[in-house]
Symmetry: C2
Subunit: 114 residues, 2 copies
Amino acid sequence: MNTECIFCKIITGELSADKVAESDNIIVIKDKFPKASVHYLIIPKQHYRDLLELDDCSVSGSLIQMARSLSEHNSELRDFKLLINNGYSMGQRVFHVHMHFLAGSKISDFENLI
Amino acid sequence: MNTECIFCKIITGELSADKVAESDNIIVIKDKFPKASVHYLIIPKQHYRDLLELDDCSVSGSLIQMARSLSEHNSELRDFKLLINNGYSMGQRVFHVHMHFLAGSKISDFENLI
C-alpha cells in the first residue's frame, strides 16, 4: 500500500467509492467522471505504480478476467472496451494501475477509432 | 485454430504479417492500418472468439505481460496505451481476441480521452 495513493485509500476504506465488484486481488469502482454510460475502473488491490511494475501474471490476468465476469453477469455489458493508459504522456493520472471498462451507449468518442 | 480466422492463418504461417515479438502463447504483429506511430496487435496463439471465451487467466495475463516486455525493451515505448474492443458494437472486427498496443506520437485521437 502507498499512503499517498487515492486508490490505496479506497481499497483500505479510508476514502469512499461506489464499489461494483470485488475479488481477492481486484476491486471495481465506478469512475467519478464517466466517459460512457457504463464506466468502471478495474484496479488491483496491491499497489503498482504502472504496468512496468506489475510483473505478476496472475494479477494482470485477473484484471481481464474481472472484465469477463462483469460482462457475463449483465447482458447489457456483453460488448465493452478495455483501456489502460500507461504513463503520463498517455493520459495516466493516478499512478496505481487501473483498467477502464467502458460499455453501453454514449461512448461516441471511442467508437470506431480502432 | 479456426480455419476461417485471419489471425489463425498468420499464426500458422499461411498468411504473412510483420511480426514484432513472440512467446510460447502470444504473437505480436504490426497493425496493417496504424492509428499511431507505433501500433501493434498482441494476439494469443490459441483461438478465442472474444474475451468471453478467454477463460484462461494465464493467457489473459500474458497479453499484458507481453506489453510490459515490449515497453521494457525499447525506451521509446515507455508510455503506451492498451485497448481491447470486445464485441461488434464496440468496434471488434476480427473475432480472435487481440489487444491494441499504441505508443509514440500521432495518437491525438486517443490523447486525454480518459
